[in-house]
Amino acid sequence: MGGSDQPIIKIDKVSKSFGSLNVLNELSFDVEPGEKLALIGPSGSGKTTILRILMTLETIDSGHILVDGEELWHIPGNGGLVPANEKHLHHMREKIGMVFQLFNLFPHMTVLRNVTAAPMLTQNVPKEQAEKRAMALLDMVGLADKADAKPAQLSGGQKQRVAIARALALQPKIMLFDEVTSALDPELVEEVLNVMRRLAEETDMTMLLVTHEMQFARDFADRVLFFDAGRIVEQGPPKEIFSNPQEERTRTFLKKVIAAGHAI
């Protein structure tokens, strides 16, 4: 399990439809342990759906996903593989954390409680230890002084930093970030990106990032995947994708993004 010689995520011919809308079509790609991956592409191309499938928020119609050497959506049974049960999904979710576009903090809990709730409830971490770890994380995201505040008292950027600390508190191997700055006022974007830069530099976590912040993707990512209509059109190191895209669709997309005011 989880040897460094095998990919930490292996997506193998995964298809997904919502009703008659085919969102992912036999999608395959691997992610290496510790890799920082940026997923870019036009709206509706299936980027969020991929992250949601990895977080077990959406099911798949066909194909296989291996996370850390284990099937995500399947367990052995009937002499082959059968759909995973809740127990298996619970086990698999231990490996993965997710940060959402709209933060999704728990409004009735203090910032500290938002961060300690999951470790205490799902990993049986004792309160004292959970709070110590939470305070260290809040300190890391620059919000130790907000521990007793309620989410409603925070700015969007602060909320998102709490959400990052909350996900990190479970110590996942893989973190998923879905457009975590796109709901923020422009002046609050940088404080969140700074936290993610630090994470990328100081940890060996595997990070998958869906973003429209091309400049950030360029600095942050080891590899960029450009999606269109549920398929990978082009992938490679950020320098190549951004400076010398090979595909017409990639060029068109990047031009549009630049025209919309996102510098590269």
Binding site: T56, G97, H108, L121, P151, A152
Partner: protein, 219 residues
């Protein structure tokens, strides 16, 4: 005047009965509201069917009929109930059925994103309900719960029909003994109003306390 204070005492004794019925009825209604509301949201068909039957039945038949069943019919099938117990049962089950729809609606109106955050943090479905969904839903339930409690208070008047000496029953005794109509009925008018004021004020206070610092839509 000494005589009137005796009658007032009689009415206050009725008021105590009314308050007791209200409190016990509300406790039963509260439990039934959660059982019914959670039952309707259950994954299991059987639980959903039982909850739906309960809710539709008690909302679809009159509280009078339910009371008469509890008091007159149940003894015939070997379940004799005291008038007080029959009254509590009918009131609690009746208002509980309305409360169940409030519980269900409030749980469903907690944003779906809260559920997804719970999944991402690996909460079990019980933990999600207990620590995340229910505390938020409960605040949404409170105003309607307050109204339901006042409905139940007003509903307690029907138990005088099965000869419970409640606050509606006693003034009629006073009236037949003294011939005075205005005073006894004015007294209970004020008393009913005061009790309902206590209910609405405490529910509003609780609501304010629980929703402190909360901004559910922008969390």
């Amino acid at each position: 005047m000494a005589e009137w204070s005796g009658y007032l005492f009689l009415i206050l004794k009725g008021a105590v009965t009314t308050v007791e019925l209200t409190v016990l009825g509300c406790m039963l209604a509260f439990v039934m509201a959660f059982l019914g509301g959670l039952g309707r949201l259950s994954r299991h068909f059987i639980l959903r069917a039982i909850a739906t039957t309960y809710i539709e039945f008690f909302r679809g038949t009159s509280i009078f009929v339910q009371l008469f069943w509890a008091f007159f019919v149940l003894p015939l099938i070997g379940i004799p109930l005291s008038p007080f117990l029959a009254g509590t049962l009918a009131l609690g089950l009746n208002i509980g059925a309305y409360g169940a729809e409030v519980v269900r609606g409030s749980i469903l109106s907690v944003p779906r994103e809260q559920n997804e955050a719970c999944t991402a943090l690996n909460f079990s479905s019980w933990q999600k309900m207990r620590y995340i969904i229910m505390p938020q839903a409960f605040i949404l339930m409170l105003p309607t719960f307050g109204n339901n409690a006042i409905e139940l208070l007003k509903g307690t008047a029907v138990v005088s029909l099965i000869s419970i000496a409640d606050m509606t029953f006693q003034p009629q005794v006073v009236r037949s003994q003294t011939g005075n109509t205005t005073m006894p009925f004015l007294t209970i008018l004020v008393l009913y109003f005061l009790i309902s004021l206590v209910i609405s004020t405490s529910v509003r206070g609780l609501e304010r306390r629980l929703s402190q610092g909360l901004d559910v839509t922008k969390a």
